[in-house]
């Protein structure tokens, strides 16, 4: 487009129109488009959802220096007057309307006595007929000219002018003139004060002119004389710039700027955002962004007068990497800005308010949008599941009592779908039963304590015997032998891998187990690894039937052709076709059978095989140095990956196991599993390794935060199960008012043959009532509602029963009578209404409890007090204004739904 710098301005009246000018004036209209729609010339795409179409072009005026759009209201937006300042000193008035202007204003020109460029034009927003023009310096003329465009011109107005024949000029006597022999760089009418004009002059002054009194009412020395603009939201505030510096002024104390802001490049344009307080936009030369200064409290409201203003600098990049030459704020739409680049590209952009964002403990993500809207993404929403947040997993698992099943640890794993977690719990279960039985002894008679294979092997010097193990079931051929290694450590290790096949029965049961679980290929491979090729063939055949995979039959067929012959056809075929098998166990099986040099690398490298099979295989077939090396490598890699399967190697007795868990936590954030493993197996190590405490504390904290208090309490129960000495002491004691001796051990709920609250009493049934202190025989305090001594039942029976018997309760007097009855016949049975459910009946034990307010020290039967506070807020004791129930704000949190309807 044009090589001239393009400037842009929104129409002050039409919300969908804007103007650009470079060599000519162009009026555009904004239209809504869809983001995918193809926008062709002459329309221009402005953004994802808007396009602009050219409405009109005005090419009559040349050498346009500056344009200002009259802010006054016109009925037709096309009649909106434009003042165009030109390089030859003329200020022309024009519109985009094709019809002549009846008032004859359109087409007028104001020509100064001496021709020099107009640097700026500006309209008054208060009196839209007032137009000011700033001109460059000439010795004998004024540089600020203010005219009233509605005033009849001198001489006689050319009322029929249209813009085409206005060349003769319109010599108009100005309303006011200022700045004799001075230069005006920029000017602006005050948006709030009548007839006040602010102008930047001579590279050193900002002057404020009062048109009513025709005088300069204020002046200040500054170099920031360019781009003066007045803030629509603050009548005293204006901004100007000079090179890299933006200054913000207060008209009341214009001696020095309120604030100087540094821009990193020379500023070209400044503008206050009309839709938001204190947002100043600033375009810089050769910059692809618009800088925004969020000026807060700059001589703003009360109490902030003496404060330094705070500025938040932002930058927006409407269309990088093109340089922004000009921009314009939309006069009405919130934070909307349109920018023009040097190439003429226009971008419609919305400046976002700063977004604040936060997560809640419930996993909800909240962020602000605009000034007032909050958006919330809940875990219940489908988009949330894409995040695969570990928090959701932890919450779900905790709710389903993950890790709280003490008897069968393996059942904990079934809560999750995660295979490695299931394996982990299986291993824990097995290991724990090994520990519990105590039969399983490590080499040297050491009892097993969650050691792993790796720690077994590195414990002492490994010295293994080589044994030739015969192949079983290879009838009709010469006896074949496989070279296997045996030692005490290896046997233990094999047992830990559930491969401890010292006798035939164990192997058979293991294979049956695998088959039952549908792992036929794995069973076959294990059989082959144990030299039972016929068994493997049978397993595969059964698998083919059971799982309806006929391919297993052919695999069995191929297996049957196994030969020791090193150069046979079978061997070549197997070697070449092996890689095409999809099942890792079949691959490993054939790799094992075709292996020549006893290297077994293909088998050991089969990463899809279960770790325990690989380890067991290695423990059987690898020589001592190779075994150590292999396990070392595997151990390092699994720990590096945080793979929980590696627990088989590391065990939990050594720091290596904790290292592995730590790595797992680091990578997955799943502190839950680590903490649960800790309480189940690593209790003894809690004091030794601070990391374990950290996990446990973190998980407890997490459960608390999630509001899963029951789960947390159960966790604590398990964690403190074997710490009888450290059982927390009783929290609350009740002592007699008179002798100050504790009565808690004697208290027992009256009429309850079985006391479910063991800690409240010793449980002997003969101490059925206790209305007096057992030590000094003085009576216990009375319930403030029923006025009966504490220690008697409250008499209302099942507390839930009162839901339908609320009329029965009545006042305090009847209450005490009821209480009497209750003592005689036992609380639960004599209530007039049948108890609704057994669950409610159980709750009624609570009714006789001592309850008192920690603040006013008044109290009584728990149930009476609860009834009271359902309807009252103050204490039932005369003259006590304590709002006992409201004191505890936890009650408030619980009752939030109660508040909600308001």
């Amino acid at each position: 487009m044009s090589s001239v710098r393009v400037d842009i301005q929104w129409s002050p009246v039409a919300v969908d129109q804007f103007l650009t000018w470079g060599t000519d004036l162009q009026l555009y209209q904004v239209q809504d488009v869809t983001p995918t729609e193809v926008v062709q010339l002459p329309r221009l795409r402005l953004g994802a959802k808007t396009a602009a179409s050219l409405l009109a072009t005005n090419t009559d005026l040349q050498y346009i220096k500056c344009v200002a759009w009259c802010p006054g209201q016109e009925s037709d937006p096309a009649n909106q007057l434009l003042a165009v300042g030109q390089a030859n000193g003329k200020v022309a008035l024009t519109t985009f309307s094709k019809i002549p202007d009846p008032r004859g204003i359109k087409g007028r020109e104001y020509v100064p006595k001496h021709s020099r460029p107009v640097s700026c034009v500006g309209w008054s927003s208060q009196e839209p007929q007032l137009l000011a023009a700033g001109l460059e310096k000439v010795r004998t003329d004024h540089s600020v000219v203010v005219c009233d465009v509605n005033r009849p011109t001198h001489p006689q107005p050319y009322s029929t002018f249209d813009q085409r024949n206005s060349a003769s000029g319109d010599l108009l006597k100005p309303l006011a003139e200022y700045g004799l022999a001075e230069t005006t760089h920029s000017l602006a009418f005050s948006l709030h004060t009548h007839r006040t004009l602010i102008a930047g002059m001579n590279n050193k002054h900002i002057k404020v002119f009062d048109l009513r009194e025709s005088k300069t009412c204020a002046t200040t020395n500054t170099k920031a004389v360019y781009g003066i603009c007045s803030d629509i939201h603050n009548e005293h505030r204006l901004a100007s710039f000079f090179e890299n510096q933006v200054s913000i002024w207060d008209l009341r104390s214009i001696d020095r700027p309120l604030l100087n802001l540094e821009a990193n490049k020379p500023v070209t344009k400044l503008s206050w955002c009309p839709s938001r307080v204190g947002l100043l936009g600033c375009a810089c030369r050769d910059s692809c962004g618009v800088r925004l200064y969020d000026v807060l409290h700059c001589a703003g409201g009360t109490g902030a007068e003496d404060q330094d203003p705070a500025v938040i600098t932002r930058a927006i990049y409407p269309d990088p990497p093109t340089f922004v030459s000009a921009f314009s704020w939309h006069p009405q739409h919130q934070n909307r800005i349109i920018t023009a680049s040097y190439t003429g590209k226009l971008v419609d952009y919305c400046v976002h308010e700063r977004i604040t964002v936060n997560w809640s403990a419930r996993g909800a993500l909240v962020w602000t949008h605009g000034r007032k809207t909050l958006h919330q993404l809940d875990p219940s929403q489908p988009a949330y599941s894409h995040l695969s947040d570990i928090l959701s997993a932890i919450t779900t698992r905790a709710r389903s009592r993950y890790g709280l099943r003490m008897d069968n640890l393996a059942a904990n794993g079934e809560v999750t779908d995660d295979l490695s977690l299931r394996n982990l719990w299986m291993w824990l279960d097995n290991a724990r039963s090994l520990v519990a039985t105590g039969n399983f002894k490590l080499p040297g008679g050491v009892p097993y304590k969650y050691q792993g294979v790796w720690s077994l092997m590195t414990n002492g010097n490994l010295s293994s015997d080589i044994i030739s193990r015969p192949w079983i079931g290879q009838d009709g051929q010469k006896n074949l032998y496989a070279k296997v290694f045996r030692s005490e450590e290896r046997s233990c290790a094999l047992e830990l891998c559930s491969w401890g096949f010292e006798d035939e029965g164990v192997l058979t049961s293991f294979l049956t187990q695998l088959e039952a679980a549908g792992n036929h290929t794995r069973a076959a491979a294990v059989a082959v690894f144990n030299q039972r090729i016929r068994l493997a063939i049978h397993i595969l055949q059964r698998g083919a039937v059971a799982k309806k995979i006929p391919a297993l039959n052919s695999t069995a067929m191929a297996l049957a052709g196994y030969t020791e012959d090193r150069k046979g056809l079978w061997r070549d075929t197997c070697t070449s076709l092996r890689s095409q098998l999809t099942d890792p166990y079949l691959r490993a099986m054939f790799a094992f059978l075709t292996d020549d040099a006893d290297s077994y690398e293909p088998v050991l490298g089969e990463t899809e095989m279960a770790i325990q099979d690989r380890v067991a295989f290695a423990c059987t077939y690898l020589s001592d140095p190779r075994l150590t090396e292999y396990l070392d490598r595997l151990n390092t890699r699994l720990t590096e990956e945080g793979n929980l399967d590696g627990i088989l190697l590391t065990g939990l007795s050594s720091t290596e196991g904790v290292d592995l868990l730590q790595r797992y936590v680091d990578l997955s954030g799943d502190v839950q599993t680590a903490a649960l493993v800790t309480i189940h197996t690593l209790q003894h190590a809690l004091n030794r390794d601070s990391r374990l405490t950290h996990w446990l504390q973190s998980y407890r904290h997490l459960l608390d935060s999630l509001g899963l208090w029951n789960e947390r309490a159960q966790l604590d129960v398990i964690a403190n199960d074997n710490k009888h000495a450290e059982r927390p002491p009783q929290h609350i004691y009740i002592a007699c008012n008179f002798c100050k001796k504790g009565i808690t051990p004697y208290i027992q709920a009256a009429g309850r043959p079985r006391n479910p609250y063991a800690r409240f009493g010793t449980g002997s049934a003969n101490k059925s009532k206790m209305q007096a202190c057992p030590n000094c025989r003085k009576p216990l305090p009375r319930c403030s509602l029923c006025l009966v001594h504490m220690g008697t039942p409250s008499g209302w029976g099942g507390c839930m029963g009162t839901k339908n018997s609320s009329s029965v309760g009545g006042g305090g007097g009847t209450c005490s009578e009821d209480g009497g009855v209750g003592v005689e016949s036992g609380a639960g049975t004599s209530t007039p209404t049948p108890n609704p459910t057994p669950a409610c009946r159980k709750l009624s034990d609570f009714t006789t409890w001592f309850t008192w307010c920690q603040t006013c020290r008044h109290g009584g039967h728990a149930h009476h007090l609860m009834e009271w506070f359902k309807e009252h807020s103050e204490c039932p004791v005369t003259n006590c204004v304590c709002k006992c129930m409201s004191l505890d704000t936890v009650g408030k949190v619980g009752s939030s739904s109660h508040v909600a309807p308001k």
């Binding site: 953004g47 959802k49 962004g289 807060l296 409290h297 109490g303 902030a304 404060q307 330094d308 600098t313 932002r314 990049y317 909307r336 919305c350 976002h352 700063r354 604040t356 964002v357 936060n358 809640s360 403990a361 962020w367 602000t368 949008h369 605009g370 000034r371 007032k372 809207t373 909050l374 958006h375 919330q376 993404l377 809940d378 219940s380 929403q381 988009a383 894409h386 995040l387 947040d389 928090l391 730590q662 936590v665 680091d666 990578l667 997955s668 502190v671 405490t693 950290h694 973190s698 997490l702 935060s705 999630l706 807020s873 129930m885 409201s886 704000t889 408030k892 949190v893 939030s896 508040v899």
Partner: protein
């Protein structure tokens, strides 16, 4: 298409901060209109209900923060008016229902400049409160008697020498980790060096000492947040600057007992640095487990970051501020990860590149 719940915050001006209580059942918002609003979650329909709204300060309220519920229902606010304030809820039951009033318990007026950020210490350190001011002073207050919230003594003053914008306690509940505070500065001059400082409290000397300056962060920092440390061996710090950064701080000392006596030294590793926002990043926030980082930037988007199983951080979701659509799914298929090789010091930088840029997020008209 992203479906989110929306809520009109009913503030008269820009909302600066949203804070949740320990359980995520209560929410506090603060705004330039000088007020704070408390919202309670309605159990029945899961909607937020405003239960209190009051004028707190004579200036924009920058931040609001909740204390641990074991100290009561307490919030603290900080403002442009150079003060911070402690508020406690007092619930009264007038018979027509429960009313909650928030009573100002204390005003902290020590700062001579705008108080930019405020945060309660983790529960384990008692009722402590850290503030930072635009004047570059971090103050740590403590209520010696948790029953008397009127008394807050300024225990420590740390001069950061650069204007401060944000502060974050290390929320680790473990006694293993000495108290840590990260302070960010929004000083605009890159020449003034690192903008994030880590301070550690030594129980022996009773002093806060700067143990680390993140020299790689020289751009102004607008927000930072320690991730909740749930059993990890290192601390994660999310930083909102010109870009989003994730910094891992690994204490090099293993032994807890020694850590008490001398200062911890950290192995600083940059786990991620992302300029996807393409402009200034304003806020960062961690989820409860410290596994997902949310960031918001000037592009009007909220982005979520997560580490994969290889510990490489990447963007998992992008949400436009106006929540009209979610470009996250497209993003996920379009990006590729290219970890750049570690330097001699074993530093590992993960970078995230977007091959096909999505539709420019900025082209969103206001509605």
């Amino acid at each position: 298409m992203l479906v989110v719940k929306s809520l009109n915050a009913e503030h008269k001006d820009l909302v600066h901060d949203v804070a949740f209580d320990f359980y995520g059942r209560r929410m506090a918002t603060c705004s330039s209109d000088q007020t704070v609003k408390i919202w309670d979650l309605n159990d029945d329909d899961g909607e937020w209900v405003c239960t209190a709204s009051w004028k707190t300060h004579c200036g924009s309220v920058w931040k609001v923060t909740w204390a641990h519920p074991e100290f009561g229902q307490i919030i603290a606010t900080c403002s442009f008016d150079r003060t911070a304030a402690i508020w406690e809820e007092s619930v009264s039951d007038s018979g027509h229902g429960v009313h909650s009033t928030w009573i100002k318990r204390a005003g902290l007026v020590d700062s001579r400049t705008s108080v930019m950020d405020i945060e309660f210490a983790p529960k384990i350190q008692g009722l402590q409160l850290a503030t930072c001011s635009a004047g570059g002073v971090v103050r740590i207050y403590e209520a010696p008697d948790v029953m008397n919230l009127n008394q807050w003594s300024p225990h420590y003053e740390i001069n950061c020498k650069l204007q401060c914008s944000c502060i974050s306690w290390n929320p680790s509940p473990s006694r293993l980790h000495a108290p840590l505070i990260a302070v960010g500065s929004d000083d605009p001059n890159p020449a003034s060096g690192g903008k994030v400082f880590i301070y550690e409290f030594s129980a022996n000397t009773h002093k806060w000492t700067r143990v680390e300056t993140l020299v790689t962060v020289t751009e102004p920092v607008h927000d930072l947040a320690f991730a909740p440390n749930l059993g990890r061996s290192y601390h994660l710090l999310g930083i909102a600057s010109k870009d989003v950064r994730v910094i891992a701080l690994k204490p090099t000392k293993q032994d807890g007992s020694q850590g008490q006596s001398s200062l911890t030294s950290f192995e600083v590793r940059q786990a991620g640095q992302f300029d996807d926002h393409g402009s200034t990043v304003w806020r960062v926030s961690w989820n409860l487990t410290g596994t997902i980082l949310a960031s918001s930037g000037d592009d009007g988007c909220v982005r979520l970051w997560k580490a994969n199983y290889l510990d490489i951080w990447k963007c998992i979701s992008v949400m436009r501020g106006d929540a009209v659509e979610n470009v996250g799914e497209a993003e996920e298929t379009n990006n590729s990860i290219q970890p750049c090789g570690g330097t001699a010091s074993g530093q590992h930088t993960a970078r995230y590149f977007k091959l096909a840029p999505t539709a420019h997020p900025s082209h969103v008209p206001w509605h």
